[in-house]
Amino acid sequence: MINLEFILNGKQITVETEPSIRLLDLLRDKFNLTGTKEGCGIGECGACTVLMNGKAVNSCLILAAQIEGSEIVTIEEIANGNELHPLQKNFLKYGAVQCGFCSPAMVLSAYALLEENPNPTKEEIKDAIAGNLCRCTGYKQIIEAISESAKELTTR
């Protein structure tokens, strides 16, 4: 067991954990942050995406000890209290949520994109979410929702 220190959703955390459990399991089992989903478990589907130091990463491929000193953001941190983030509002408005399993990770990938590139082209949006599989295949609506959110966030 190790004592792991990191920042989780803005809060400084110290937690006792096995060093080699996956970040995905740490988030879900220790912190009950179940918005982070397990799909394939091998880095292909992106359902377990979280932000590590602002970058989208697969939490199924990162071991707990590796996040020492890092800043982790999960989907639970994206809304402002009960006020949904524009991305979340637009996912609902544009019908980008079907079964919903890919949605938390999809929103996080979009969030990381817009932080880095506030005016992405359609191709850049596609590249940013290429690692997030939606098996309902509602990609068109997802891309629209992200595109619209970019517009709203930049004209504020």
């Binding site: 096995e18 060093p19 080699s20 459990i21 996956r22 399991d25 478990g41 091998i42 880095g43 292909e44 992106g46 995406t49 590590m52 970058k55 989208a56 990463v57 697969n58 199924c60 491929l61 990162i62 071991l63 000890a65 590796q66 020492e68 990938s109 590249d127 940013a128 290429a130 690692g131 997030n132």
Partner: protein, 289 residues
Amino acid sequence: MPSIEILIPKSLNEALGILSDQNKVLKIIAGGTDVVTGLKQESNRFINTEVLVDVNHIAEIKEIERRNGKISIGAASTFSEIFKDQIVSNELPILKKAVATIGNLQIRNRATIAGNFVNNAPCADTVPALLIYNATIEIESINSKREIPLQEFLQAPYKTQLKKDEIVTRINIPVPPKTFIGDFYKLGRRQAVAISRITLAVLMELNENKINEIRIAAGAVTPIGTRFPELEKFAKGNEVNDNFFKALASKIGEEIIKLTGLRWSSEYKLPAVQQMFYQTLNRMTKRIK
């Protein structure tokens, strides 16, 4: 997931010290895209691993810089870092193109360049690009340091020259002359998160309309990523035209069969490689005309 100790050295010396202790089964981990999936799937490459040495926090093996007339890429540079790097963008466009085809953004944000070839998987996307750039790699242990061509380092599928106490520290690439033109092509089953079925990298210098120098490498269709010295010799001095490109494309098929033998997949893969190679050559040369 088995219970494994994880050490996070902050300097190269510390890492080399840890690796010199061979009483334990140690493995290096960087992006984890190979190691974590390998551990989870109980791959025999990671069986009995007791300690993982995380090399993500060693500044000496992360930066990309010009050194002694070469471009020196730290082994633990992630693909996202390489993709955004100005030196790579200006001088190594074919490597940049290869990097862009890897996995997806989440993977590129974590996976490292040395991690792409230290396991010597036949489908490693950066290998053909690094081979045509004549990349050499620096390898260190606590009491040794050596630099060898990447092609020598890669011995056989999933087998390299790396010893248990060693770590790849840098990838060094001579700056290619601006007169070189080149291209990279990857064929997978889909655009993102695809394991390559075929990769090709070509670098060429023309003198008037004749091939002054050409470097050709492939991955996934050969047992390991490889150059084609005989094909390169055959092409040198020839005039660039459609008929010659057809002849060259047909010959790459023969060379691949020499390396791999006939396989069940040869019947459809070979014509695909030949056509891709032919199209790549055409695309490259049309661009300069």
